[in-house]
């Protein structure tokens, strides 16, 4: 693979996707510490929100240690060159949250929908574009539909005003060829000034390989997470990815040595859950299940005396989508009933 001379924008997920393994309990002070260090290491974009995006605070997804607004007001003013992004999932967050985020100084808004439901994002994407934000459409669970169907959805978001479209492998299910086909088609068909991005999960250890495939197929933005801190087995581990990119001659603008220090000295010590490819996160990837279900399934398994992998496989069989965390306890109760009946 020859990526010599390519440029890519890296986007750190540790303070948003990383909220999942931390049960949304990172404090504003911890966020400031991590974000300032990432900024100093030259990471250009850092996402800060509840794991389920703006407005995610809930029984369903977990109540965070502080509000989105408190996190953003703490982090944004501390940045020297890095920009802060926020995630918004229509159906959970609203345009009111988007306006609040803009007011806090958020530059990039990423509007996320299930890969077949792009038309719920019209209000939010068009407002982001109207407020002259860097407006990103984020198509989740993108492994579930073929590239041509994904393109149709991406074109809807482009039509609403998104200037960047993401292929989001929320389940960590994709293999490099899946990424190549999707990124390649979007890059070929979307407007030339619209960027394509890729967001991976490391559930089958494919985060780096998939992200390389994405760059080769034309992606200009790649998500990763320092120390890999993200849902499931985490996101593409950013410091390792930067090391690989630098060996391959890809420009990132990131200081690899400093980034390694952020992982080693700040992020690893604060992690309360071991983010790794264990049998549960591997099951997510193999069965194509939304990565943030992980800890919810572990808790339900413990509470109802079940095996978490069984719950995850069932959720995959039911074709659950992102946000359906409420189905986890429901499925566990069904399985317990079925077990008692045997």
């Amino acid at each position: 693979m020859n990526l010599q001379g390519k440029r890519v924008t890296l986007h750190d997920m540790s303070l948003r996707d990383g909220m999942h393994p931390q049960r949304h309990q990172l404090t504003p002070a911890q966020m400031v510490e991590v974000a300032t260090a990432l900024d100093a290491a030259g990471v250009p974009l850092i996402e800060v929100t509840h794991g389920d995006g703006l407005g995610g605070a809930s029984v369903n997804y977990g109540f965070p240690a502080a509000s989105d607004e408190e996190y953003l007001r703490a982090v944004v003013p501390k940045m020297s060159t890095a920009k802060i992004s926020a995630l918004l999932i229509p159906g959970i967050g609203t345009v009111d949250h988007l306006r609040m985020a803009r007011d806090c100084g958020v530059e990039t808004i990423r509007v996320a929908t299930h890969c077949t439901e792009a038309d719920v994002s019209e209000q939010h994407i068009s407002l982001g574009a109207k407020m002259e934000m860097d407006t990103v459409g984020f198509l989740m669970m993108a492994h579930m539909i073929p590239p041509e169907a994904l393109l149709e959805q991406a074109e809807l978001m482009q039509g609403y005003g998104a200037n960047c479209l993401y292929i989001t492998d929320s389940a960590g299910y994709m293999l490099p060829d899946d990424v190549t086909a999707r990124v390649g088609l979007l890059r070929e068909k979307l407007d030339a000034d619209v960027e394509v991005g890729f967001h991976g999960h490391h559930n089958m250890h494919m985060g780096i390989a998939n992200s390389l495939a994405a760059i080769e197929a034309g992606a200009a933005r790649i998500d990763g997470s320092v120390a890999g801190m993200g849902a499931g087995a985490g996101n593409t581990p950013l410091e390792a990815f930067v090391a690989v990119l630098h060996r391959m001659g890809v420009e990132t603008g990131v200081d690899m040595w400093k980034l390694m220090d952020v992982a080693e000295e700040i992020v690893y010590p604060l992690m309360t859950h071991k983010v790794r490819v264990d049998r549960d996160s591997l099951t997510l990837g193999y069965a194509g299940v939304y990565s943030s279900f992980l800890l919810h399934a572990k808790r339900a398994a413990e509470k109802y005396g079940l095996k978490s992998t069984d719950i995850l496989v069932e959720l995959g069989r039911m074709k659950t989508v992102g946000g359906q965390e409420d189905m986890i306890e429901d499925v566990a109760l069904d399985m317990k009933k079925a077990g008692a009946a045997e």
Partner: protein, 298 residues
């Protein structure tokens, strides 16, 4: 024997059509007009076949006939954007509005919770909250009538095929209006609503999860009994309203996992979200019709 109260259905889409089939079975209401904006509309064609007068000119097309045809009640199954002007137009003729859009101009009505309170108030416009609200607010109320609910949260999951363009274009209206309904009608001090659209095939039946956080530890037996009674009330007009799991008691959390299967009048059975809306809209209109009949008899 009193004559049936005449009614119009504004909006000839899926909701309007399903409502038409239900209204034709009513013993107290007679649907006489179906109002659309598209001459090619399948809903208008069906309405015509079933003997209704139709117009594709919007409410304006019906206005000259309101008095003559004695239209006294109208359901609005269009969108929040046009409801305001529809309401203003019909108000002039004294037509009572049952608003199935999330416009929420009038007070919220969730029949098993507050329909009786509506009696005697002669509201000109009542709002049916949202489909997710109709499916979940009764359960929040089932808890809040036992003890104070600090926070109520609902998650409504509907199949892609049952989420129409109106809902999709303005999904924020759904979350805002439902959350407000959880507070105002459900009785929770703070409300939150989440909607998920799932494209699985075959389409999934509407699912709703309701979480209440009670101020004091939940009075389990009373809540179980209150919920049982509430579900029986909803089942009177939506027989497929079922408690699938729960209530789960976990500290101060009380959770219900519901499934809502529709009657399958016009919409498929999985679209319980739309069915509960049309069924609740009809029930509310029937109460208004009774009031009209009483006033006319007096």
């Amino acid at each position: 024997m009193t004559t049936k109260v005449k009614a119009a259905i504004i909006g000839s889409g899926n909701i309007g059509t399903d409502l038409l089939y239900k209204a034709l079975r009513s013993e107290i209401i007679e649907p006489v007009w179906m109002v659309g904006i598209d001459p090619q509309s399948e809903g208008l064609r069906r309405a015509k076949e079933l003997g209704l007068k139709t117009t594709a000119e919007g409410v304006e097309g019906m206005e000259p006939h309101i008095a003559e045809d004695k239209v006294q009640i109208a359901w609005d199954a269009t969108s929040a954007y046009v409801h305001e002007s529809n309401n203003a137009a019909l108000k002039k003729y004294g037509v009572k509005m049952v608003d199935l859009t999330p416009a929420a101009i009038g007070p919220f009505c969730v029949p098993p919770v507050n329909l009786r309170e509506m009696v005697g108030r002669s509201e000109q416009n009542v709002n049916m909250v949202t489909c997710g609200g109709q499916a979940t607010i009764p359960m929040v109320a089932a808890v809040s009538r036992v003890q104070p609910v600090e926070y109520g949260e609902i998650i409504a999951t509907v199949s892609s095929k049952s989420a129409g363009p109106g809902t999709r274009k303005n999904i924020d209206e759904f979350t805002r209006t439902t959350a407000k309904g959880v507070e105002v009608v459900g009785g929770a001090k703070r409300g939150k609503a989440i909607i998920i659209i799932n494209p699985a095939e075959p389409p999934l039946i509407m699912r709703d999860t309701i979480h209440c956080l009670t101020e004091a530890p939940p009075k389990q037996n009373e809540i179980i009994e209150s919920a049982r009674q509430m579900i029986a009330e909803v089942q009177k007009y939506v027989p497929g309203y079922k408690l699938k799991n729960g209530p789960v008691f976990d500290g101060n959390r009380v959770s219900f996992f519901m499934e809502v299967e529709g009657l399958g009048d016009f919409l498929p059975k999985y679209a319980g979200n739309l069915d509960i809306m049309t069924a609740a809209g009809l029930r509310t209109a029937e109460l208004i019709a009774e009031e009209i009949q009483r006033a006319e008899a007096a």
